[in-house]
Symmetry: C2
Amino acid sequence: MSGTRMSTDRGGVSGAVKPLVPVLAIAGVGLIGGSFAAALRQRGLVGEVLGAGRSPSSLALARELGLVDRVVSYAEAAEQADLVILAAPVGATEPILQAMRPYLRDQTLITDAGSTKVNVVQAARRALDDRIAQFVPGHPIAGAEKTGPEAADADLYQGRVTVLTPLEENTPAARQFVTRVWEAVGARVLSMEPDIHDRALASVSHVPHFLSSVFMWQVATSPDSDLRLALAGSGFRDFTRISAGSAEVWRDIFLSNREAVLAELTEVRAALDQAQAFLQGAQGRELEDFLERAALARRFWGSRSGLK
Amino acid sequence: MSGTRMSTDRGGVSGAVKPLVPVLAIAGVGLIGGSFAAALRQRGLVGEVLGAGRSPSSLALARELGLVDRVVSYAEAAEQADLVILAAPVGATEPILQAMRPYLRDQTLITDAGSTKVNVVQAARRALDDRIAQFVPGHPIAGAEKTGPEAADADLYQGRVTVLTPLEENTPAARQFVTRVWEAVGARVLSMEPDIHDRALASVSHVPHFLSSVFMWQVATSPDSDLRLALAGSGFRDFTRISAGSAEVWRDIFLSNREAVLAELTEVRAALDQAQAFLQGAQGRELEDFLERAALARRFWGSRSGLK
Protein backbone atom coordinates (compact mmCIF):
# COMPACT_ATOMS: atom_id res chain seq x y z
CA MET A 1 0.00 0.00 0.00
CA SER A 2 0.97 3.65 -0.32
CA GLY A 3 3.57 5.21 1.92
CA THR A 4 1.58 8.41 2.00
CA ARG A 5 -1.03 7.12 4.41
CA MET A 6 -1.51 9.03 7.62
CA SER A 7 -0.19 7.39 10.74
CA THR A 8 -3.46 8.01 12.56
CA ASP A 9 -5.36 6.12 9.90
CA ARG A 10 -5.21 2.66 11.37
CA GLY A 11 -7.20 0.73 8.88
CA GLY A 12 -10.82 0.31 8.27
CA VAL A 13 -13.23 2.13 6.12
CA SER A 14 -10.92 4.69 4.54
CA GLY A 15 -9.32 2.38 2.00
CA ALA A 16 -6.00 4.13 2.54
CA VAL A 17 -4.80 1.24 4.68
CA LYS A 18 -5.09 -2.42 3.89
CA PRO A 19 -7.90 -3.78 6.07
CA LEU A 20 -7.49 -6.95 8.13
CA VAL A 21 -9.19 -8.95 5.38
CA PRO A 22 -8.72 -7.22 2.02
CA VAL A 23 -10.92 -9.69 0.15
CA LEU A 24 -13.31 -11.99 2.02
CA ALA A 25 -15.26 -14.74 0.32
CA ILE A 26 -18.32 -16.28 1.94
CA ALA A 27 -19.32 -19.72 0.72
CA GLY A 28 -22.95 -19.91 1.80
CA VAL A 29 -24.55 -16.52 2.37
CA GLY A 30 -27.00 -17.34 5.13
CA LEU A 31 -27.22 -16.22 8.73
CA ILE A 32 -23.73 -17.43 9.65
CA GLY A 33 -21.79 -16.21 6.63
CA GLY A 34 -23.80 -13.03 6.31
CA SER A 35 -23.30 -12.14 9.95
CA PHE A 36 -19.56 -12.78 9.64
CA ALA A 37 -19.33 -10.38 6.70
CA ALA A 38 -21.56 -7.82 8.38
CA ALA A 39 -19.45 -7.90 11.55
CA LEU A 40 -16.19 -7.32 9.65
CA ARG A 41 -17.79 -4.66 7.50
CA GLN A 42 -19.26 -2.80 10.47
CA ARG A 43 -15.84 -2.67 12.10
CA GLY A 44 -14.17 -1.53 8.87
CA LEU A 45 -12.04 -4.67 8.77
CA VAL A 46 -12.86 -5.96 5.32
CA GLY A 47 -12.26 -4.60 1.83
CA GLU A 48 -14.37 -6.46 -0.69
CA VAL A 49 -16.81 -9.23 0.14
CA LEU A 50 -17.44 -11.97 -2.42
CA GLY A 51 -20.42 -14.26 -2.12
CA ALA A 52 -20.60 -17.80 -3.49
CA GLY A 53 -23.25 -20.45 -3.04
CA ARG A 54 -25.81 -22.65 -4.67
CA SER A 55 -28.89 -20.50 -4.11
CA PRO A 56 -29.18 -17.66 -6.64
CA SER A 57 -31.98 -16.07 -4.63
CA SER A 58 -29.95 -16.01 -1.41
CA LEU A 59 -26.98 -14.58 -3.29
CA ALA A 60 -29.12 -11.90 -4.90
CA LEU A 61 -30.64 -11.03 -1.54
CA ALA A 62 -27.23 -10.89 0.12
CA ARG A 63 -26.08 -8.45 -2.54
CA GLU A 64 -29.21 -6.34 -2.18
CA LEU A 65 -28.67 -6.23 1.57
CA GLY A 66 -25.10 -5.07 1.04
CA LEU A 67 -23.66 -8.16 2.72
CA VAL A 68 -21.67 -9.09 -0.38
CA ASP A 69 -20.25 -6.86 -3.09
CA ARG A 70 -20.02 -9.42 -5.87
CA VAL A 71 -21.44 -12.84 -6.57
CA VAL A 72 -18.74 -15.25 -7.72
CA SER A 73 -18.18 -18.95 -8.38
CA TYR A 74 -16.33 -21.12 -5.87
CA ALA A 75 -13.36 -21.06 -8.27
CA GLU A 76 -13.34 -17.27 -8.36
CA ALA A 77 -13.66 -17.12 -4.58
CA ALA A 78 -10.59 -19.37 -4.25
CA GLU A 79 -8.66 -17.30 -6.77
CA GLN A 80 -9.46 -13.86 -5.40
CA ALA A 81 -10.04 -14.08 -1.65
CA ASP A 82 -7.55 -13.63 1.15
CA LEU A 83 -9.90 -15.42 3.51
CA VAL A 84 -12.72 -17.81 2.71
CA ILE A 85 -15.34 -18.71 5.26
CA LEU A 86 -17.36 -21.85 4.60
CA ALA A 87 -20.81 -21.33 6.01
CA ALA A 88 -22.84 -23.96 4.17
CA PRO A 89 -24.38 -27.08 5.70
CA VAL A 90 -21.51 -29.33 6.78
CA GLY A 91 -22.41 -31.95 4.19
CA ALA A 92 -21.39 -29.47 1.49
CA THR A 93 -17.86 -29.01 2.84
CA GLU A 94 -16.17 -31.54 0.58
CA PRO A 95 -17.75 -30.55 -2.76
CA ILE A 96 -17.20 -26.85 -2.11
CA LEU A 97 -13.54 -27.35 -1.20
CA GLN A 98 -13.08 -29.64 -4.21
CA ALA A 99 -14.42 -26.89 -6.44
CA MET A 100 -12.01 -24.41 -4.88
CA ARG A 101 -8.88 -26.55 -4.70
CA PRO A 102 -7.55 -26.09 -8.28
CA TYR A 103 -7.80 -22.31 -8.02
CA LEU A 104 -6.66 -21.77 -4.47
CA ARG A 105 -3.86 -19.23 -4.08
CA ASP A 106 -0.98 -20.13 -1.76
CA GLN A 107 -1.73 -17.32 0.63
CA THR A 108 -5.48 -17.83 0.90
CA LEU A 109 -6.73 -19.13 4.22
CA ILE A 110 -9.99 -20.94 4.74
CA THR A 111 -11.96 -21.25 7.93
CA ASP A 112 -15.41 -22.68 8.42
CA ALA A 113 -18.42 -22.45 10.68
CA GLY A 114 -19.41 -26.11 10.68
CA SER A 115 -21.10 -27.45 13.79
CA THR A 116 -19.08 -30.67 13.66
CA LYS A 117 -15.34 -30.88 13.26
CA VAL A 118 -14.04 -34.47 12.94
CA ASN A 119 -16.08 -35.06 9.83
CA VAL A 120 -15.36 -31.62 8.38
CA VAL A 121 -11.61 -32.10 8.86
CA GLN A 122 -11.79 -35.47 7.11
CA ALA A 123 -13.73 -33.93 4.23
CA ALA A 124 -11.27 -31.03 4.01
CA ARG A 125 -8.28 -33.39 3.94
CA ARG A 126 -9.80 -35.34 1.08
CA ALA A 127 -10.70 -32.21 -0.87
CA LEU A 128 -7.64 -30.04 -0.21
CA ASP A 129 -5.00 -32.76 0.02
CA ASP A 130 -1.57 -31.07 0.10
CA ARG A 131 -3.18 -27.67 0.67
CA ILE A 132 -4.76 -28.74 3.94
CA ALA A 133 -2.44 -26.38 5.86
CA GLN A 134 -4.54 -23.50 4.49
CA PHE A 135 -7.65 -24.71 6.32
CA VAL A 136 -8.15 -23.67 9.94
CA PRO A 137 -11.38 -25.31 11.11
CA GLY A 138 -13.74 -23.36 13.31
CA HIS A 139 -17.17 -23.39 14.88
CA PRO A 140 -18.80 -20.23 16.14
CA ILE A 141 -21.29 -21.20 18.83
CA ALA A 142 -23.89 -18.79 17.71
CA GLY A 143 -26.81 -19.00 15.42
CA ALA A 144 -30.44 -19.16 15.73
CA GLU A 145 -33.61 -20.68 14.47
CA LYS A 146 -33.55 -17.84 11.97
CA THR A 147 -32.00 -18.60 8.62
CA GLY A 148 -31.00 -16.78 5.46
CA PRO A 149 -29.10 -13.59 4.67
CA GLU A 150 -32.02 -11.46 5.87
CA ALA A 151 -31.28 -12.71 9.40
CA ALA A 152 -27.63 -11.59 9.26
CA ASP A 153 -26.59 -9.62 12.34
CA ALA A 154 -23.28 -7.83 12.80
CA ASP A 155 -23.47 -8.62 16.52
CA LEU A 156 -24.23 -12.33 16.22
CA TYR A 157 -20.77 -13.37 17.40
CA GLN A 158 -20.38 -10.70 20.06
CA GLY A 159 -19.37 -12.35 23.31
CA ARG A 160 -19.96 -15.85 21.95
CA VAL A 161 -17.42 -18.66 21.86
CA THR A 162 -15.82 -19.72 18.61
CA VAL A 163 -14.02 -23.04 18.85
CA LEU A 164 -11.01 -23.54 16.59
CA THR A 165 -9.64 -27.03 16.02
CA PRO A 166 -6.34 -26.20 14.32
CA LEU A 167 -4.52 -28.88 12.34
CA GLU A 168 -0.90 -29.84 12.91
CA GLU A 169 -0.27 -28.66 9.36
CA ASN A 170 -1.48 -25.10 10.09
CA THR A 171 1.36 -22.60 10.49
CA PRO A 172 1.39 -20.50 13.66
CA ALA A 173 0.76 -17.46 11.45
CA ALA A 174 -2.33 -19.09 9.91
CA ARG A 175 -3.74 -20.00 13.33
CA GLN A 176 -3.03 -16.54 14.63
CA PHE A 177 -4.65 -14.82 11.70
CA VAL A 178 -7.83 -16.89 11.86
CA THR A 179 -7.97 -16.40 15.63
CA ARG A 180 -7.58 -12.67 15.15
CA VAL A 181 -10.40 -12.50 12.61
CA TRP A 182 -12.81 -14.44 14.83
CA GLU A 183 -11.89 -12.20 17.74
CA ALA A 184 -12.42 -9.19 15.50
CA VAL A 185 -16.05 -10.18 14.93
CA GLY A 186 -16.50 -10.28 18.71
CA ALA A 187 -15.94 -13.94 19.55
CA ARG A 188 -13.97 -15.50 22.37
CA VAL A 189 -11.76 -18.16 20.79
CA LEU A 190 -11.14 -21.54 22.41
CA SER A 191 -8.91 -24.15 20.75
CA MET A 192 -9.28 -27.89 21.18
CA GLU A 193 -9.11 -31.21 19.37
CA PRO A 194 -11.90 -31.94 16.89
CA ASP A 195 -13.15 -35.03 18.71
CA ILE A 196 -13.32 -33.20 22.04
CA HIS A 197 -15.35 -30.50 20.33
CA ASP A 198 -17.67 -32.99 18.70
CA ARG A 199 -18.44 -34.90 21.88
CA ALA A 200 -19.12 -31.74 23.87
CA LEU A 201 -21.32 -30.31 21.12
CA ALA A 202 -23.17 -33.59 20.73
CA SER A 203 -24.14 -33.13 24.35
CA VAL A 204 -25.02 -29.46 24.60
CA SER A 205 -26.20 -28.70 21.08
CA HIS A 206 -27.04 -31.73 18.95
CA VAL A 207 -28.90 -33.82 21.52
CA PRO A 208 -31.10 -30.92 22.68
CA HIS A 209 -31.98 -30.23 19.07
CA PHE A 210 -32.74 -33.89 18.47
CA LEU A 211 -34.94 -34.12 21.56
CA SER A 212 -36.70 -30.86 20.81
CA SER A 213 -37.51 -32.04 17.29
CA VAL A 214 -38.65 -35.46 18.47
CA PHE A 215 -40.93 -33.86 21.02
CA MET A 216 -42.32 -31.34 18.54
CA TRP A 217 -42.93 -34.12 16.03
CA GLN A 218 -44.76 -36.18 18.63
CA VAL A 219 -47.03 -33.28 19.61
CA ALA A 220 -47.69 -32.27 16.00
CA THR A 221 -48.60 -35.79 14.91
CA SER A 222 -50.88 -36.55 17.86
CA PRO A 223 -54.61 -36.84 17.06
CA ASP A 224 -55.49 -33.90 19.31
CA SER A 225 -52.58 -31.69 18.36
CA ASP A 226 -54.80 -28.62 17.89
CA LEU A 227 -56.00 -28.70 21.48
CA ARG A 228 -52.52 -29.37 22.78
CA LEU A 229 -51.01 -26.52 20.81
CA ALA A 230 -53.77 -24.15 21.96
CA LEU A 231 -52.69 -24.81 25.54
CA ALA A 232 -48.96 -24.53 24.93
CA GLY A 233 -47.26 -21.74 26.81
CA SER A 234 -43.89 -20.15 27.28
CA GLY A 235 -42.19 -23.32 28.51
CA PHE A 236 -43.24 -25.13 25.35
CA ARG A 237 -42.11 -22.13 23.31
CA ASP A 238 -38.62 -22.19 24.78
CA PHE A 239 -38.21 -25.95 24.75
CA THR A 240 -39.23 -26.29 21.10
CA ARG A 241 -37.66 -23.13 19.69
CA ILE A 242 -34.65 -24.93 18.24
CA SER A 243 -36.83 -27.48 16.46
CA ALA A 244 -37.79 -24.75 13.99
CA GLY A 245 -34.24 -24.73 12.61
CA SER A 246 -33.32 -25.85 9.10
CA ALA A 247 -34.00 -29.57 8.65
CA GLU A 248 -31.25 -29.83 6.08
CA VAL A 249 -28.63 -28.17 8.26
CA TRP A 250 -29.50 -30.37 11.21
CA ARG A 251 -29.72 -33.58 9.18
CA ASP A 252 -26.14 -32.90 8.13
CA ILE A 253 -25.04 -32.16 11.67
CA PHE A 254 -26.62 -35.32 13.06
CA LEU A 255 -25.21 -37.53 10.31
CA SER A 256 -21.84 -35.85 10.56
CA ASN A 257 -21.62 -36.42 14.32
CA ARG A 258 -23.64 -39.59 14.44
CA GLU A 259 -21.57 -41.71 16.81
CA ALA A 260 -21.25 -38.99 19.44
CA VAL A 261 -24.93 -38.08 19.21
CA LEU A 262 -26.01 -41.70 19.57
CA ALA A 263 -23.67 -42.18 22.52
CA GLU A 264 -25.09 -39.12 24.25
CA LEU A 265 -28.67 -40.18 23.55
CA THR A 266 -27.88 -43.42 25.35
CA GLU A 267 -26.75 -41.44 28.38
CA VAL A 268 -29.85 -39.24 28.28
CA ARG A 269 -32.08 -42.30 28.07
CA ALA A 270 -30.39 -43.70 31.17
CA ALA A 271 -31.10 -40.46 33.02
CA LEU A 272 -34.68 -40.56 31.73
CA ASP A 273 -35.07 -44.13 32.97
CA GLN A 274 -33.98 -43.05 36.40
CA ALA A 275 -36.25 -40.00 36.65
CA GLN A 276 -39.15 -41.97 35.21
CA ALA A 277 -38.64 -44.70 37.79
CA PHE A 278 -38.92 -42.09 40.53
CA LEU A 279 -42.16 -40.84 39.00
CA GLN A 280 -43.51 -44.34 38.40
CA GLY A 281 -42.81 -45.22 42.02
CA ALA A 282 -44.21 -41.89 43.26
CA GLN A 283 -40.87 -41.33 45.01
CA GLY A 284 -41.43 -37.68 45.74
CA ARG A 285 -38.24 -37.10 47.69
CA GLU A 286 -35.98 -38.67 45.04
CA LEU A 287 -37.84 -36.92 42.24
CA GLU A 288 -37.51 -33.56 43.93
CA ASP A 289 -33.78 -34.10 44.56
CA PHE A 290 -33.32 -34.99 40.90
CA LEU A 291 -35.19 -31.88 39.76
CA GLU A 292 -33.34 -29.72 42.25
CA ARG A 293 -29.94 -30.90 41.00
CA ALA A 294 -30.96 -29.91 37.46
CA ALA A 295 -32.44 -26.59 38.57
CA LEU A 296 -29.37 -25.58 40.55
CA ALA A 297 -27.05 -26.47 37.67
CA ARG A 298 -29.17 -24.51 35.21
CA ARG A 299 -29.38 -21.46 37.45
CA PHE A 300 -25.62 -21.52 38.01
CA TRP A 301 -24.95 -21.82 34.27
CA GLY A 302 -27.45 -19.08 33.54
CA SER A 303 -25.75 -16.69 35.92
CA ARG A 304 -22.36 -17.31 34.30
CA SER A 305 -23.07 -17.87 30.63
CA GLY A 306 -23.65 -14.27 29.67
CA LEU A 307 -26.47 -15.50 27.40
CA LYS A 308 -29.63 -13.56 28.02
CA MET B 1 -73.68 0.72 47.56
CA SER B 2 -74.84 4.29 47.64
CA GLY B 3 -77.37 5.55 45.15
CA THR B 4 -75.49 8.80 44.94
CA ARG B 5 -72.62 7.50 42.85
CA MET B 6 -72.13 9.10 39.47
CA SER B 7 -73.23 7.06 36.53
CA THR B 8 -69.94 7.72 34.77
CA ASP B 9 -68.01 6.19 37.62
CA ARG B 10 -67.94 2.60 36.48
CA GLY B 11 -65.76 1.03 39.09
CA GLY B 12 -62.10 1.00 39.69
CA VAL B 13 -59.79 3.16 41.67
CA SER B 14 -62.19 5.77 43.00
CA GLY B 15 -63.47 3.80 45.93
CA ALA B 16 -66.89 5.32 45.35
CA VAL B 17 -67.95 2.14 43.61
CA LYS B 18 -67.49 -1.39 44.80
CA PRO B 19 -64.63 -2.88 42.80
CA LEU B 20 -64.99 -6.17 40.96
CA VAL B 21 -63.28 -7.96 43.86
CA PRO B 22 -63.81 -6.01 47.09
CA VAL B 23 -61.57 -8.29 49.15
CA LEU B 24 -59.15 -10.70 47.46
CA ALA B 25 -57.16 -13.31 49.34
CA ILE B 26 -54.09 -14.91 47.84
CA ALA B 27 -53.04 -18.24 49.30
CA GLY B 28 -49.40 -18.47 48.24
CA VAL B 29 -47.84 -15.11 47.42
CA GLY B 30 -45.38 -16.10 44.73
CA LEU B 31 -45.15 -15.23 41.07
CA ILE B 32 -48.63 -16.52 40.23
CA GLY B 33 -50.60 -15.14 43.15
CA GLY B 34 -48.62 -11.92 43.27
CA SER B 35 -49.13 -11.28 39.56
CA PHE B 36 -52.86 -11.94 39.91
CA ALA B 37 -53.12 -9.35 42.68
CA ALA B 38 -50.91 -6.90 40.81
CA ALA B 39 -53.01 -7.21 37.66
CA LEU B 40 -56.28 -6.55 39.51
CA ARG B 41 -54.73 -3.73 41.47
CA GLN B 42 -53.28 -2.06 38.37
CA ARG B 43 -56.69 -2.10 36.74
CA GLY B 44 -58.37 -0.76 39.86
CA LEU B 45 -60.48 -3.90 40.19
CA VAL B 46 -59.64 -4.91 43.73
CA GLY B 47 -60.29 -3.33 47.10
CA GLU B 48 -58.16 -4.98 49.75
CA VAL B 49 -55.67 -7.78 49.14
CA LEU B 50 -55.03 -10.32 51.87
CA GLY B 51 -52.03 -12.61 51.74
CA ALA B 52 -51.80 -16.02 53.36
CA GLY B 53 -49.12 -18.67 53.08
CA ARG B 54 -46.55 -20.72 54.88
CA SER B 55 -43.50 -18.58 54.16
CA PRO B 56 -43.22 -15.58 56.48
CA SER B 57 -40.43 -14.10 54.37
CA SER B 58 -42.47 -14.27 51.16
CA LEU B 59 -45.46 -12.75 52.94
CA ALA B 60 -43.34 -9.95 54.37
CA LEU B 61 -41.83 -9.28 50.96
CA ALA B 62 -45.24 -9.30 49.29
CA ARG B 63 -46.41 -6.71 51.76
CA GLU B 64 -43.31 -4.57 51.25
CA LEU B 65 -43.84 -4.74 47.51
CA GLY B 66 -47.44 -3.60 47.96
CA LEU B 67 -48.83 -6.81 46.49
CA VAL B 68 -50.82 -7.53 49.65
CA ASP B 69 -52.28 -5.14 52.18
CA ARG B 70 -52.50 -7.50 55.14
CA VAL B 71 -51.03 -10.84 56.08
CA VAL B 72 -53.70 -13.21 57.39
CA SER B 73 -54.22 -16.84 58.30
CA TYR B 74 -56.03 -19.22 55.95
CA ALA B 75 -58.99 -19.02 58.34
CA GLU B 76 -59.07 -15.23 58.16
CA ALA B 77 -58.75 -15.35 54.39
CA ALA B 78 -61.79 -17.64 54.20
CA GLU B 79 -63.75 -15.43 56.57
CA GLN B 80 -62.99 -12.09 54.97
CA ALA B 81 -62.40 -12.55 51.25
CA ASP B 82 -64.90 -12.33 48.41
CA LEU B 83 -62.53 -14.27 46.20
CA VAL B 84 -59.68 -16.56 47.17
CA ILE B 85 -57.04 -17.61 44.69
CA LEU B 86 -54.98 -20.66 45.58
CA ALA B 87 -51.54 -20.21 44.14
CA ALA B 88 -49.49 -22.66 46.16
CA PRO B 89 -47.90 -25.86 44.87
CA VAL B 90 -50.75 -28.22 43.92
CA GLY B 91 -49.79 -30.65 46.69
CA ALA B 92 -50.85 -27.99 49.21
CA THR B 93 -54.40 -27.67 47.82
CA GLU B 94 -56.06 -30.05 50.25
CA PRO B 95 -54.50 -28.82 53.52
CA ILE B 96 -55.10 -25.18 52.60
CA LEU B 97 -58.76 -25.78 51.73
CA GLN B 98 -59.18 -27.87 54.89
CA ALA B 99 -57.86 -24.95 56.91
CA MET B 100 -60.32 -22.62 55.20
CA ARG B 101 -63.41 -24.82 55.16
CA PRO B 102 -64.76 -24.10 58.68
CA TYR B 103 -64.56 -20.36 58.17
CA LEU B 104 -65.71 -20.07 54.59
CA ARG B 105 -68.54 -17.58 54.04
CA ASP B 106 -71.39 -18.66 51.78
CA GLN B 107 -70.67 -16.02 49.18
CA THR B 108 -66.93 -16.53 48.96
CA LEU B 109 -65.65 -18.05 45.75
CA ILE B 110 -62.37 -19.85 45.37
CA THR B 111 -60.37 -20.37 42.20
CA ASP B 112 -56.90 -21.78 41.82
CA ALA B 113 -53.90 -21.67 39.55
CA GLY B 114 -52.84 -25.29 39.81
CA SER B 115 -51.16 -26.85 36.79
CA THR B 116 -53.14 -30.05 37.16
CA LYS B 117 -56.88 -30.30 37.58
CA VAL B 118 -58.14 -33.87 38.15
CA ASN B 119 -56.09 -34.22 41.27
CA VAL B 120 -56.85 -30.68 42.47
CA VAL B 121 -60.58 -31.24 42.03
CA GLN B 122 -60.38 -34.48 44.01
CA ALA B 123 -58.46 -32.72 46.77
CA ALA B 124 -60.96 -29.85 46.79
CA ARG B 125 -63.92 -32.24 47.01
CA ARG B 126 -62.39 -33.96 50.01
CA ALA B 127 -61.54 -30.69 51.73
CA LEU B 128 -64.62 -28.61 50.92
CA ASP B 129 -67.22 -31.38 50.89
CA ASP B 130 -70.69 -29.73 50.69
CA ARG B 131 -69.09 -26.37 49.91
CA ILE B 132 -67.50 -27.64 46.69
CA ALA B 133 -69.83 -25.43 44.61
CA GLN B 134 -67.79 -22.46 45.78
CA PHE B 135 -64.64 -23.75 44.06
CA VAL B 136 -64.17 -22.96 40.35
CA PRO B 137 -60.90 -24.64 39.32
CA GLY B 138 -58.57 -22.82 36.98
CA HIS B 139 -55.15 -22.92 35.44
CA PRO B 140 -53.53 -19.83 33.96
CA ILE B 141 -51.03 -20.97 31.33
CA ALA B 142 -48.45 -18.45 32.29
CA GLY B 143 -45.56 -18.47 34.61
CA ALA B 144 -41.91 -18.60 34.30
CA GLU B 145 -38.72 -19.99 35.68
CA LYS B 146 -38.81 -16.98 37.97
CA THR B 147 -40.36 -17.52 41.37
CA GLY B 148 -41.38 -15.50 44.38
CA PRO B 149 -43.31 -12.30 44.93
CA GLU B 150 -40.41 -10.22 43.59
CA ALA B 151 -41.13 -11.71 40.15
CA ALA B 152 -44.78 -10.63 40.21
CA ASP B 153 -45.85 -8.90 37.01
CA ALA B 154 -49.19 -7.19 36.42
CA ASP B 155 -48.98 -8.22 32.76
CA LEU B 156 -48.18 -11.89 33.33
CA TYR B 157 -51.64 -13.04 32.22
CA GLN B 158 -52.07 -10.57 29.38
CA GLY B 159 -53.03 -12.46 26.24
CA ARG B 160 -52.42 -15.86 27.86
CA VAL B 161 -54.92 -18.67 28.14
CA THR B 162 -56.52 -19.53 31.46
CA VAL B 163 -58.28 -22.88 31.44
CA LEU B 164 -61.29 -23.26 33.72
CA THR B 165 -62.60 -26.71 34.54
CA PRO B 166 -65.92 -25.82 36.17
CA LEU B 167 -67.70 -28.37 38.33
CA GLU B 168 -71.29 -29.40 37.83
CA GLU B 169 -71.96 -27.99 41.30
CA ASN B 170 -70.80 -24.49 40.31
CA THR B 171 -73.65 -22.05 39.73
CA PRO B 172 -73.70 -20.18 36.41
CA ALA B 173 -73.12 -16.99 38.39
CA ALA B 174 -70.02 -18.46 40.03
CA ARG B 175 -68.61 -19.60 36.70
CA GLN B 176 -69.32 -16.24 35.16
CA PHE B 177 -67.75 -14.31 37.97
CA VAL B 178 -64.55 -16.34 37.97
CA THR B 179 -64.41 -16.11 34.17
CA ARG B 180 -64.84 -12.38 34.39
CA VAL B 181 -62.04 -12.00 36.91
CA TRP B 182 -59.59 -14.04 34.84
CA GLU B 183 -60.54 -12.03 31.78
CA ALA B 184 -60.04 -8.87 33.80
CA VAL B 185 -56.41 -9.77 34.44
CA GLY B 186 -55.94 -10.12 30.69
CA ALA B 187 -56.44 -13.84 30.11
CA ARG B 188 -58.40 -15.60 27.41
CA VAL B 189 -60.59 -18.17 29.18
CA LEU B 190 -61.17 -21.68 27.80
CA SER B 191 -63.37 -24.18 29.61
CA MET B 192 -62.95 -27.95 29.46
CA GLU B 193 -63.10 -31.14 31.49
CA PRO B 194 -60.30 -31.65 34.02
CA ASP B 195 -59.01 -34.84 32.41
CA ILE B 196 -58.85 -33.25 28.96
CA HIS B 197 -56.86 -30.40 30.48
CA ASP B 198 -54.51 -32.74 32.30
CA ARG B 199 -53.73 -34.86 29.26
CA ALA B 200 -53.07 -31.83 27.05
CA LEU B 201 -50.91 -30.19 29.70
CA ALA B 202 -49.00 -33.42 30.32
CA SER B 203 -48.04 -33.20 26.67
CA VAL B 204 -47.20 -29.53 26.17
CA SER B 205 -46.04 -28.54 29.63
CA HIS B 206 -45.17 -31.39 31.96
CA VAL B 207 -43.29 -33.63 29.54
CA PRO B 208 -41.12 -30.79 28.18
CA HIS B 209 -40.25 -29.85 31.74
CA PHE B 210 -39.44 -33.45 32.59
CA LEU B 211 -37.22 -33.86 29.52
CA SER B 212 -35.51 -30.53 30.03
CA SER B 213 -34.71 -31.45 33.64
CA VAL B 214 -33.52 -34.94 32.69
CA PHE B 215 -31.26 -33.48 30.03
CA MET B 216 -29.89 -30.79 32.34
CA TRP B 217 -29.27 -33.38 35.04
CA GLN B 218 -27.39 -35.59 32.58
CA VAL B 219 -25.14 -32.74 31.41
CA ALA B 220 -24.51 -31.47 34.94
CA THR B 221 -23.56 -34.91 36.26
CA SER B 222 -21.27 -35.83 33.37
CA PRO B 223 -17.54 -36.02 34.19
CA ASP B 224 -16.66 -33.23 31.73
CA SER B 225 -19.62 -31.01 32.54
CA ASP B 226 -17.44 -27.87 32.79
CA LEU B 227 -16.24 -28.18 29.21
CA ARG B 228 -19.72 -28.98 27.98
CA LEU B 229 -21.25 -26.03 29.73
CA ALA B 230 -18.52 -23.71 28.43
CA LEU B 231 -19.59 -24.63 24.89
CA ALA B 232 -23.33 -24.35 25.49
CA GLY B 233 -25.06 -21.71 23.41
CA SER B 234 -28.44 -20.20 22.84
CA GLY B 235 -30.11 -23.48 21.83
CA PHE B 236 -29.05 -25.04 25.13
CA ARG B 237 -30.21 -21.92 26.95
CA ASP B 238 -33.70 -22.14 25.48
CA PHE B 239 -34.06 -25.90 25.79
CA THR B 240 -33.03 -25.96 29.44
CA ARG B 241 -34.65 -22.73 30.63
CA ILE B 242 -37.64 -24.47 32.19
CA SER B 243 -35.43 -26.87 34.14
CA ALA B 244 -34.49 -23.95 36.42
CA GLY B 245 -38.05 -23.89 37.80
CA SER B 246 -38.96 -24.77 41.37
CA ALA B 247 -38.24 -28.44 42.08
CA GLU B 248 -40.98 -28.56 44.67
CA VAL B 249 -43.63 -27.08 42.39
CA TRP B 250 -42.74 -29.48 39.60
CA ARG B 251 -42.48 -32.51 41.83
CA ASP B 252 -46.07 -31.81 42.84
CA ILE B 253 -47.16 -31.34 39.24
CA PHE B 254 -45.56 -34.58 38.09
CA LEU B 255 -46.95 -36.59 40.99
CA SER B 256 -50.33 -34.98 40.62
CA ASN B 257 -50.54 -35.81 36.90
CA ARG B 258 -48.48 -38.97 37.01
CA GLU B 259 -50.52 -41.26 34.79
CA ALA B 260 -50.87 -38.74 31.98
CA VAL B 261 -47.21 -37.77 32.14
CA LEU B 262 -46.08 -41.40 32.04
CA ALA B 263 -48.42 -42.09 29.12
CA GLU B 264 -47.02 -39.15 27.17
CA LEU B 265 -43.44 -40.12 27.95
CA THR B 266 -44.19 -43.49 26.39
CA GLU B 267 -45.32 -41.72 23.22
CA VAL B 268 -42.27 -39.49 23.17
CA ARG B 269 -40.00 -42.51 23.60
CA ALA B 270 -41.66 -44.14 20.60
CA ALA B 271 -40.98 -41.03 18.53
CA LEU B 272 -37.42 -40.98 19.81
CA ASP B 273 -36.98 -44.63 18.83
CA GLN B 274 -38.09 -43.79 15.32
CA ALA B 275 -35.85 -40.76 14.86
CA GLN B 276 -32.94 -42.56 16.44
CA ALA B 277 -33.39 -45.49 14.06
CA PHE B 278 -33.16 -43.07 11.14
CA LEU B 279 -29.94 -41.68 12.58
CA GLN B 280 -28.54 -45.10 13.42
CA GLY B 281 -29.23 -46.24 9.87
CA ALA B 282 -27.85 -43.00 8.39
CA GLN B 283 -31.22 -42.59 6.63
CA GLY B 284 -30.70 -38.99 5.63
CA ARG B 285 -33.91 -38.58 3.69
CA GLU B 286 -36.13 -40.00 6.41
CA LEU B 287 -34.30 -38.04 9.08
CA GLU B 288 -34.68 -34.79 7.16
CA ASP B 289 -38.39 -35.43 6.58
CA PHE B 290 -38.85 -36.07 10.28
CA LEU B 291 -37.01 -32.87 11.22
CA GLU B 292 -38.88 -30.90 8.58
CA ARG B 293 -42.26 -32.05 9.93
CA ALA B 294 -41.26 -30.80 13.37
CA ALA B 295 -39.81 -27.54 12.04
CA LEU B 296 -42.91 -26.70 10.00
CA ALA B 297 -45.21 -27.43 12.93
CA ARG B 298 -43.11 -25.27 15.25
CA ARG B 299 -42.94 -22.39 12.80
CA PHE B 300 -46.70 -22.53 12.26
CA TRP B 301 -47.35 -22.58 15.99
CA GLY B 302 -44.88 -19.76 16.54
CA SER B 303 -46.63 -17.57 14.01
CA ARG B 304 -50.00 -18.12 15.67
CA SER B 305 -49.29 -18.43 19.36
CA GLY B 306 -48.75 -14.76 20.07
CA LEU B 307 -45.91 -15.77 22.40
CA LYS B 308 -42.77 -13.89 21.61
